[in-house]
């Protein structure tokens, strides 16, 4: 673990006021992120996506975010002005979302969108921006950057769309990337190829990555450290290599209920939800 | 426990015990949603008001609004004649009340003709696709192209004047957009997995159209109908104004404006009051339609 902590989150809460009562999407999540790959795993309703959004101040209207500490490289994100947040979004912390079909603007060319991402955070000439865009497209292993530059999002495949998202999010050179199910909509081989691109870029630039997913196997093989979330809290924190020595029964249950290729199981052990998980404070190392 | 409390309990019960109860619960929840919109409630109030007034007409009015009292013609509003009298001495208040029945008659007749035709053609076209779709849509286009008033005049020339013929003309020119809406919904739905599941069960095309496709088209059609209703009433009024719709002495509001327009300057109440009635009812339908659309909108979690 490096000394320089890029992000510090302490006791993060995200609550929504709904007609049917108070919904606690995130209840007391704490963690730190250095120049490493941190995975956040959880099922639906665990609050993992909400955590990612809260960091960037992108919580939906109606939601309240509170924390005793939410710091990015010394800047307090909780009371930062909207102007500061806009600089941080993209320039400091970037977010890659699940489906490029919905996160890329369908009426703008790919090149335009990537350039825009750059120009918002750097003042350079259009020519330089275009060059940097080509460079970036090449860096994400797109073979014909000129053609893709002129293409529209619906003209490219899913895997390429996701690589374009990565290019767009990397070009302003952020320190942290938050990836929310970035490859769930892709085939398994393409998924891994896209992650390889992400992996290389993150190590080259010494960035931090928060990888949010429901796929435990993928996170365990891709990330350095893992947080397991359940019902808005972190129930376990461990290094990826030590996942099989997990302490918390939820983690164990999650690992055990996955069907395995080298299986030979007749019945998958079913996860029995223990209500005490909701009240005991989360584990930290 | 009062009956109201038990009814409410039944409507909010966790576990519905019958299909009827489940359906009532859904309607009730929709109603609670609808109630939250004050503007929509105003619309509903107006329409309920219209229906009530039409139903209670024999008891609210003092005359049948048809007899002439030439001695009392063109009297301004007073305690005896709340809305004054028209050029033939008839009490305008009474005529407005009786006219509300005619307005409702127009609304009901148009609905009965337009909704089934639109749904049938639209769902069949959207679901079947291919040449069936093409033929039905061209048919729809043909009717869409007809300007209402021209068609009304043509029909009247053939069939003779009268309210029913005017309504028929309106209906024939109004069903097309509903067919389009139903078709658009059917197109969206037809590749859904629940439709595939129905096909998997061997349900006939008719069965699928009736029980699976049509129910999902209903909300869009109903919303569109309420929003169009204002236009339909105005068109009927317009036809009445041109003398093509309801014939004198029928107290149809449009006809009342037509006959009263020469008195606009000095006896403003004669054409203006029926005009206000039309305005209020049209507004009522518009507001109701807006409210219904907000309730039916899937984004707000139907």
């Amino acid at each position: 673990m490096t000394d320089s902590k890029l992000l510090s989150v302490e006791d993060l809460h995200v609550t929504y006021n709904t007609p049917t009562g108070l919904v606690r999407a995130v209840s007391g999540v704490s963690f730190e992120l250095g120049r490493e790959k941190l995975g956040i795993v959880g099922e639906s309703g665990s609050g993992k996506s909400q955590t990612g959004r809260a960091i960037l101040g992108l919580t939906a209207t109606g939601g309240t975010v509170s924390a005793s500490r939410l710091e990015f490289k010394g800047t307090n994100l909780l009371n930062a002005s909207e102007r500061t947040m806009r600089q941080i979004r993209g320039g400091g912390i970037s977010m890659i979302m699940q489906d490029p079909k919905y996160s890329l603007n369908p009426v703008m060319t790919v090149g335009y969108q990537i350039e825009e991402a750059l120009l918002v955070h750097n003042r350079t000439s259009k020519r330089v921006a275009r060059e940097r865009t080509y460079e970036m497209l090449r860096a994400v292993k797109i073979r014909e950057p000129e053609r893709v530059y002129r293409a529209y999002p619906h003209e490219v495949s899913g895997g390429m769309g996701q690589r374009i998202m990565i290019a767009m999010m990397m070009i302003p050179e952020p320190d942290i990337i938050i990836a929310d199910e970035p490859t769930s909509a892709l085939d398994v081989t393409v998924q891994l190829q896209v992650l390889a691109v992400l992996d290389d870029m993150i190590s080259e630039r010494g960035m931090g990555l928060i990888f949010i997913s429901h796929d435990l196997n993928l996170i365990a093989s891709f990330c350095d450290r893992i947080l397991i979330m359940y019902d808005g809290r972190v129930v376990e924190e461990c290094s990826a290599a030590e996942l099989d020595q997990a302490q918390h029964p939820y983690t164990q249950g999650l690992v055990n209920c996955l069907p395995r290729l080298d299986g030979g199981q007749d019945e998958l052990p079913v996860l029995k939800r223990d209500p005490s998980w909701l009240t005991t404070p989360g584990a930290t190392r | 426990m009062s009956t109201e409390a038990t009814l409410r309990g039944w409507l909010l019960a966790e576990i519905p015990k019958s299909k009827w109860q489940a359906r009532c619960q859904r309607v009730f929840i929709g109603w609670l949603d609808f109630k939250r919109n004050p503007i929509a409630m105003i619309g509903l109030l107006i329409i309920v008001g219209l229906v009530t007034v039409a139903a209670l007409a024999p008891w609210i009015t003092t005359s049948n609004g048809l007899e002439l009292h030439l001695a009392d013609r063109l009297k301004p509003p007073s305690s005896e004649h709340w809305f004054g009298t028209d050029e033939l001495g008839r009490d305008i208040f009474d005529r407005i009340i009786w006219g509300s029945r005619i307005t409702l008659y127009i609304v009901a007749l148009v609905t009965i003709i337009v909704v089934p035709i639109g749904l049938l053609i639209g769902t069949v076209a959207g679901y079947m696709g291919g040449w069936v779709d093409t033929v039905l849509m061209r048919l729809t286009d043909i009717f869409l192209a007809f300007p209402r008033l021209i068609l009304a005049m043509a029909l009247v020339a053939v069939l003779g004047r009268g309210l029913e013929n005017a309504v028929l003309a309106i209906a024939l020119t109004t069903w097309s957009p509903f067919a389009r809406i139903a078709r658009a919904e059917a197109l969206t739905i037809r590749n859904s997995e629940f439709i595939l599941a129905a096909q998997m069960q061997g349900i006939s095309t008719v069965g699928i159209l009736a029980r699976h496709v049509t129910p999902l088209c209903m909300s869009s059609v109903i919303v569109r109908l309420t929003l169009d209703m204002a236009g339909i009433i105005l068109t009927a009024a317009g036809l009445g104004f041109l003398g093509l719709g309801a014939q004198p002495p029928t107290p149809e509001w449009g006809a009342m404006i037509s006959l009263g327009r020469q008195y606009l300057i000095d006896q403003w109440w004669v054409p203006t009051i029926p005009g206000i009635a039309i305005l209020v009812v049209s507004l009522g339908f518009n507001l109701l339609g807006d409210g219904l659309r907000d309730v039916f909108d899937p984004k707000s979690g139907n």
Binding site: E43, S44, D187, V188, T189, V190, Q191, L192, Q193, L195, A196, D199, H214, L216, N217, L218, A220, S221, F222, G253, L254, C257, L258, P259, R260, L261, D262, G263, Q265, D266, E267, L268, P269, V270, L271 | I15, P16, K17, S18, K19, Q21, A22, R26, G129, N191, S192, E193, F194, L196, A197, A198, M200, Q201, G202, I203, R211, H212, P215, L216, N302
Partner: protein, 261 residues
């Protein structure tokens, strides 16, 4: 039990012709679980739907298909529709949003003119682990896992012999997936069912099936037993790559990935 020979499925006309399935043949024994694995666009779902007989309106299907000694014609018989059922991928999309669970379950029984419909509905719900209180709920009132159970219950109502499963757990949380897979295994044992399971997840197929076919670009790449899959004794590079990718992220292995065109 199921025999498919030379299946071809073509979508579209003229210039926009798309061969979704090319010359696919496979065979499933009675009481067996057969897996169809592939990535998106491989044609696996299309094969299943062609077998189910729900593609006639949108595609041109050719080839021979036999189910339980009945040659399948363009229009499926009533008895086919009773004996062969299907569970779809999207738990929300496969249930009509305006129908209660009771309506959804009683419809197949009504179509096939079965008796004691109410009894059958309650029994089917019990078999999938849902109690009778679910009968009059709407799909949006129940969870994804429960909806998928209702889907399975619907497939059981007519007392079928074969159930076609199109990615039945892909849209579910991992813990719910385990429950549904266990349910499917139990039902298969109890009713002596034959399954054809389509999935992109090799682990699920390995767990549920005895043999499988790997598909790519509309054609069958390889057919093998799950045992052979586990022993990595595949001869086709595509299968091997798929297998490697299924094991998780391995940076060096990814460099060796080829594009199979």
């Amino acid at each position: 039990m199921i025999d498919i020979r030379g299946l071809d499925v073509v979508f579209g006309h003229g210039k926009n012709v798309f061969h979704a399935v090319r010359d696919v043949s496979l065979s499933v024994e009675k009481g067996q679980s057969f897996g169809l694995v592939g990535e998106s666009g491989s044609g696996k779902t299309t094969v299943l739907r062609a077998l189910a007989g729900i593609l006639e309106r949108v595609a041109r299907v050719s080839g021979e298909m036999t189910v339980a000694d009945e040659t399948l014609l363009r229009h499926r018989s009533q008895s086919f529709r009773r004996r062969v059922q299907m569970v779809f991928q999207d738990p929300f999309g496969s249930l009509h949003p305006r129908h209660t669970v009771d309506t959804i379950l009683s419809e197949p029984a009504r179509v096939h003119k079965l008796d004691r419909i109410e009894e059958r509905v309650v029994q089917a719900l019990e078999e999938v682990g849902l109690d009778a209180s679910f009968r009059f709920r709407y799909p949006h009132q129940i969870s994804g896992g429960q909806r998928q159970r209702v889907s399975v219950a619907r497939a059981l109502i007519t007392g079928p012999e074969i159930i076609l499963l199109d990615e039945p757990t892909s849209a579910l949380d991992v813990s719910v997936q385990a429950e549904v897979l266990n349910l499917l295994m139990r039902l298969k044992r109890e009713h002596g069912l034959t399954y054809v399971l389509v999935s992109h997840n090799l682990a699920v197929v390995a767990h549920m099936c005895e043999s499988l076919s790997v598909m790519q670009n509309g054609a069958v790449v390889e057919t093998m037993s799950v045992q052979q899959l586990r022993e990595h004794s595949s001869t086709m590079p595509y299968t091997q790559q798929l297998l490697t990718a299924s094991l998780g992220y391995d940076r060096t292995a990814i460099d060796a990935f080829e594009e199979f065109g």
